[in-house]
């Protein structure tokens, strides 16, 4: 017969009470102490062995690692500087191709350009009071429409 049939709260309390008073196996403490001492002794011997092997040589390992790092840095920087190509002194004609170029890549003629005998500018501008004069006699390339002057023709 169930002693808690009509009282679920009492049944919960009884179960929790049992759980809270669960008895550990006999000699639990002694067993725990023995195992902990064993583990502690193991750790001690392992730790001292590790210290003996490693602790004395720690400085040597650290120095060797630092030296290797320094050598690697020096070799890397030397190789990097050798791989860089410096432009030859004198004229530098940029390679045409991609169309993308730095602003400094100016085109320099391979030969000096001689100045014409009658040094005139390619075009002459004549201004009259700040206004450009469009004369009928002006040479215009064929096929270019020239607007008619609105001013009356001068005698």
């Amino acid at each position: 017969m169930n002693p808690y049939r009509n009282n679920p709260k009492e049944q919960i309390n009884a179960t929790l009470r049992r759980l809270g008073h669960a008895q550990p196996p006999t000699h639990l403490e002694q067993r725990l102490r023995a195992r902990l001492q064993e583990k502690s002794a193991q750790q001690k011997t392992r730790g001292s062995r590790f210290e003996n092997v490693f602790f004395g040589q720690r400085i040597i390992f650290a120095s060797a690692a630092a030296a290797v790092a320094c050598v690697a840095i020096v070799i890397g920087s030397v190789q990097h500087s050798r791989q860089r190509s410096f432009p030859a002194p004198g004229l530098h004609v940029p390679v045409s191709g991609s169309g993308l170029g730095a602003a400094s890549s100016t085109h320099i003629a391979p030969q000096p350009i001689a100045a014409p005998e009658h040094a005139h500018a390619r075009s002459e501008q004549k201004a009259d009071g700040g206004r450009a004069i469009i004369s009928r006699e002006a040479h215009k390339p064929k096929g270019v429409a020239v607007p008619e002057s609105t001013e009356p023709a001068k005698p």
Binding site: L19, Q23, P24, E29, L32, K44
Partner: protein, 193 residues
């Protein structure tokens, strides 16, 4: 020895890290004597297997041994140890390594403390307890933790709150909810029978 040297020596020997291994060993032995039963009950409430619970208690103290340098920084040792044991128990249960002894009624009768009931009554009561424990496993994790820890007389509500990293009022409401849900589930089971 000058006063400066004396002060330096005093400082050196009072540093927690520099305590000797013998001191730490003594402290751990004292912790075993004081808390092994509580930790066993905590582990047993989760695993319901006495061998597993014993292993968990041992593992808890091994953790203490491993982190012995932190031992002097711990404010509440009981809360710290119970938290370790609880987490180890949950890990074990999650990995599915444990088999609750409550599945075997004979085991349960052997493990739990004997009462003044007759043998047949004891078996029936054990069956009923097994049923309640199965229902406890179905509760939400937080409520289950609060309920199981509240079963331990050694732990106050404040300590349970410390273990669960929450407030005392929250613990009280979790226990209340857990009991109510458990009661409802038991009533439903009975009405279904």
């Amino acid at each position: 020895m000058s006063s400066f040297q004396a002060q330096a020596a005093d400082w050196f020997y009072t540093q927690p890290v520099l305590k000797s291994r013998e001191d730490v060993s003594e402290i751990i032995t004292a912790l075993v004597a004081e808390y092994s039963t509580t930790l066993y009950r905590v582990a047993y409430s989760v695993t319901r297997n006495s061998a597993e619970a014993e292993d968990i208690v041992q593992e808890t103290f091994l953790r203490v041994l491993k982190h012995q340098n932190k031992l002097y920084e711990i404010r509440d040792t009981r809360v710290w140890l119970v938290r370790i044991a609880w987490n180890l128990s949950l890990d074990r249960k999650r990995r599915g390594k444990t088999r609750p002894e409550t599945e075997d009624i004979a085991d349960l009768v052997r493990t739990l403390p004997s009462s003044e009931l007759r043998a047949d009554e004891e078996v029936i009561a054990a069956q009923e307890h097994a049923r309640v424990l199965a229902l406890i496993d179905r509760l939400p994790a937080k409520e289950r933790q609060a309920l199981l820890l509240s079963a331990l007389e050694e732990l106050s509500t404040a300590e349970i709150a410390g273990i669960c990293s929450t407030t005392e009022s929250s613990i009280r409401s979790r226990i209340f909810r857990a009991r109510r849900e458990l009661s409802d589930m038991l009533s439903k089971q009975r009405s279904g029978q």
